[in-house]
């Protein structure tokens, strides 16, 4: 297995730092050879995941979030680490997209976008507390992207 790292970024858990995370993910994705569409999807997914940690994990409390990027064979793996309480965003119910938007129950859009933009999402509670969320996206284009 071939593994290439692109380092990591550590931010305070504040929405004003989301742009730094997006820039990090964009740069790492481009360095790994991702297409514009795949890089944009990863930027979207990581922004939503980190925003979830800020809003629902730390919920206004001070804290730090670390985001790391790796290429494993032909898959980009982005890991989001925090030390908020156990919080599994993948447990959220999927919004029912067959229902017109205005009639839909609120919530779940962030994690829905994470799932739509990635191939795999894995959550685990870290042994020393906090959460690890791993987002995986293949470098291969999806059918709809040609």
């Amino acid at each position: 297995m071939s593994v290439t790292g692109a380092g990591s970024i550590r931010i305070a858990a504040e929405s004003g730092h989301l742009a730094e995370v997006r820039a990090f993910v964009r740069e790492a994705s481009e360095r790994f050879g991702a297409s514009d569409a795949i890089a944009a999807d990863l930027v979207q997914a990581v922004d939503e995941a980190v925003c979830n940690v800020i809003l629902h994990g730390y919920a206004g409390a001070d804290g730090e979030i670390e985001v790391a990027a790796e290429l494993r064979d032909r898959q980009i793996e982005i890991t989001v680490l925090d030390r908020s309480g156990p919080f599994d965003p993948t447990a959220a119910a999927e919004p029912d997209l067959s229902v017109p938007p205005l009639a839909r129950k609120p919530g779940g859009m962030g994690i829905h976008l994470v799932r739509a933009a990635t191939d795999e999402v894995h959550h685990r509670v870290r042994a020393d507390g906090g959460n690890e969320l791993k987002l995986v996206r293949s470098l291969e284009p999806r059918v709809e992207e040609g």
Partner: protein
């Protein structure tokens, strides 16, 4: 990348505001957009064009801002942001719910977000701000 918001007013029988967004719309700045939209409504605008040609990223919080704009330009006032996606639920489903708000010149990443959340069904989308303004005027 920070987001800039520019606003121009078009004088016509129906006052229209064009809001030009440049940069990235996310959880740190979506409330600012809602404030700007609210001011335009209070200033007498009855049609809104969101020129998104320079918008390279939109988070789900940006979608909440779009919903809020639709609600404000239906004369229903700004939503309770603490309720988050509840603002969506508060809007009654009806054809043309966002007819007073048109999106223009959407870039691919933003279009994907609208499609993936089903919101592209709600907002009329035009190729340019000029076409959107003409459509709001009924031309």
């Amino acid at each position: 990348m920070p987001m800039t918001i520019e606003v121009t007013q078009l004088t016509s029988a129906r006052p229209i505001s064009v809001v030009i967004l440049t940069g990235e719309l996310d959880a740190s700045n979506y409330e600012r957009l809602i404030e700007v939209v609210g001011r335009e409504w209070e200033g007498g605008s009855r049609g809104l064009v969101m020129d998104l040609a320079g918008l390279t990223f939109m988070a789900s919080s940006g979608l909440v801002a779009l919903y809020a704009a639709a609600r404000i330009f239906r004369g229903e006032g700004p939503p309770d942001l603490e309720a988050g996606w509840q603002v969506i639920h508060d809007l009654e489903e009806e054809t043309g719910a966002a007819a007073n708000v048109r999106l223009a010149a959407i870039q691919a990443p933003v279009e994907r977000v609208l499609q993936r959340t089903g919101l592209s069904r709600l907002f009329p989308i035009d190729p340019s701000a000029e076409v959107a303004a003409d459509n709001l005027r009924g031309e």
